[in-house]
């Protein structure tokens, strides 16, 4: 029970830190807002008709999944400099298990990402994306899956990074290409073979496609937007979630003390 209280504390702290820091909260909303309103709005107005599907909704669902994915995985990776920072030093020397630290952090960063997801839903409405209450609820639970998957991805990256400096250096290579390989803003239905290969090994692709799979379910443009069915996406995500989490946690716990 003590470990569960510890997990709750670590998670609660993450959420509280976000809510107590309005500047950070606002800054996390800027990019998604620009993507959805300006990019989405302008593309929809200019080439929306030729695409044959609702581009605004396409960008909205893409950015929703991408923001959750990035927020949750980067939140986990932040554990790397936390060791020398603020209250986290305290967490690392407390008598709780290292597994509880990882679990608490995954829960916390999921809550943080979902808070941001809430903001994105609002931008979507403002920008003119129409969705039903059922779709809204669908986005909520799909969002949870995306966050957990992304957090596990964060754990495997974290376990392979020695320092914050390395993390900052490799970040552009592990996150930015995925924006495009996952088709957050751009259609990736047809790709040259090498890009297709890279796209298929990008975890974000499955998060984005899963989100769209459920959002577009039953709509006329489903087959034009969704790459593969949610069942396949969920299968791939579940298997890699378990692999990332188990291998990543093992490596992290082992490397944490052997510096």
């Amino acid at each position: 029970m003590k470990e569960i209280y510890a997990i709750m504390t670590i998670a609660y702290r993450d959420l509280l830190k976000l809510l107590r820091d309005p500047a950070r909260l606002i800054s996390t909303f800027i990019l998604p807002l620009l993507f959805i309103t300006i990019l989405g709005g302008s593309m929809q107005a200019n080439i929306g008709n030729q695409l044959g599907y609702d581009y605004l909704a396409f960008v909205f669902t893409g950015v929703f999944a991408q923001t959750l994915f990035q927020s949750a995985s980067m939140g986990i990776i932040s554990l790397i400099d936390d060791r020398e920072n603020d209250f986290s030093q305290e967490i690392f020397v407390s008598p709780i298990s290292r597994y509880s630290i990882i679990l608490g952090k995954i829960t916390g960063e999921t809550l943080v990402a979902l808070t941001q997801g809430l903001g994105i839903l609002v931008f979507g409405l403002v920008a003119g994306v129409s969705f039903s209450l059922v779709q809204l609820l669908t986005l909520a639970w799909v969002g949870v899956i995306v966050c957990l998957f992304a957090a596990a991805f964060g754990v495997i990256i974290l376990s392979n990074l020695p320092t914050r400096r390395t993390a900052d250096q490799v970040f552009p290579f592990i996150m930015l290409p995925q924006f495009f390989l996952a088709g957050v803003f751009n259609p990736i239905r047809v790709l040259p073979w090498y890009l297709d290969l890279l796209s298929r090994i990008s975890p974000m692709r499955y998060a984005v496609d899963l989100t769209r799979g459920f959002f577009y379910l039953g709509r006329a443009d489903y087959s034009k937007v969704v790459l593969q069915g949610p069942v396949l996406n969920l299968t791939i995500m579940t298997i890699s979630f378990l692999a990332f989490l188990i291998i990543g946690t093992f490596l992290f716990v082992r490397s944490e003390r052997n510096r």
Partner: protein, 310 residues
């Protein structure tokens, strides 16, 4: 009495480092002792404290804290420690009480509750009592960001005492504090020791902070240079010698030989005083002296010499 900290032939070599950060040090700390690890920057103090507090694995050697091996039972060791880090370890955007509360829950003292008022009564009492002890009773609901450096340190002390640890580790706790806060910090630590008999393990590079300690261990480049009570360390490090000279150097040389006094000509005659007093020595010498200059450096001088080597 069983030592509360036992370090035997501890070695730490960081991955990819050419030399050992800590190079075969051994010492023990008795329960209730005020132990100071003193040394210049880069001497291996933080490495040692990190190993003792289980955040870093040793390369070789045995370390037992509160009877538990740091490598095998890290969690049991952690339960017995309070730590004040070199870098402040508070969440600035959270209130003082929240920082305290999260610590209490992580150490398994109380169940998780989202607010102070929903926390169990004993917790509320303990917080108010400790806050009063450290003069923080009116500040507990304030954000830590609004705290001065001295107040933040106090809050960290308060937090580290919450689970009543038998050992309190302090890693250069006065870095960045003004003189008044520094003095207050020592005053609080003294009170903590008096009231609870807590063992204090301090690292510092300031000699004056070490002088009140029961035991001083000076390390430099990963090795122990001197180890003992402040008096012992002083006796070991400080070289007492006497410089003398005479018009007739041959006569003086011959006389010192007869008296079996060892000396070095620099060209002045330098005599190591060891157990002899200046008075005894001068009384024994018949040759007319032109210079008598006793050299008795302070512990500060001796320590600075070590630091300058580094």
């Amino acid at each position: 009495m069983m030592p509360i900290i036992e370090v035997d032939q501890l070695v730490k070599c960081y991955r990819g480092a050419a030399s050992n950060a800590v190079d075969g040090i051994s010492f023990t700390v008795a329960p209730g002792e005020f132990f100071t690890l003193l040394g210049p920057n880069g001497a291996g103090k933080t490495t040692t404290i990190s190993i003792l507090t289980t955040t870093l694995a040793p390369t070789s050697g045995e370390v037992r804290v509160a009877g538990h091996d740091v490598a095998r039972s890290a969690s049991a060791v952690r339960r017995n420690l309070g730590i004040i880090f070199q870098q402040p370890s508070l969440d600035l955007n959270l209130s003082a009480e929240e920082n305290i509360r999260f610590h209490a829950i992580l150490y398994g003292l109380y169940p998780f509750r989202p607010t102070f008022s929903t926390m169990p009564r004993p917790y509320q009492h303990q917080v108010l009592e400790l806050a009063a002890f450290l003069d923080l009773e009116n500040d507990m609901s304030k954000k830590v960001r609004k705290f001065s450096g001295g107040m933040r340190r106090k809050l960290e002390i308060m937090r580290s005492l919450l689970h009543k640890p038998p050992i309190l580790f302090l890693d250069e706790p006065t870095a960045g504090l003004d003189p008044v806060s520094r003095r207050n910090l020592w005053e609080y630590l003294r009170r903590v020791r008096n009231e609870s008999g807590t063992t204090i393990f301090l690292t510092t590079h300031y000699l004056d902070e070490a002088e009140d300690a029961d035991t001083i261990c000076i390390i430099d480049r990963g090795r122990i240079v001197s180890y003992g009570s402040p008096q012992q360390v002083k006796a070991e490090l400080v070289e007492h010698y006497l410089l003398i000279d005479a018009e007739n150097r041959d006569q003086l040389r011959a006389e010192l030989g007869r008296l079996r006094v060892e000396f070095v000509e620099t060209p002045l005659f330098r005599i190591d005083l060891k157990e002899r007093s200046v008075h005894q020595l001068i009384k024994a010498i018949e040759t007319p002296l032109t210079l008598v200059n006793p050299h008795t450096p302070s512990l500060e001088d001796a320590y600075l010499e070590i630091v300058e080597h580094a």
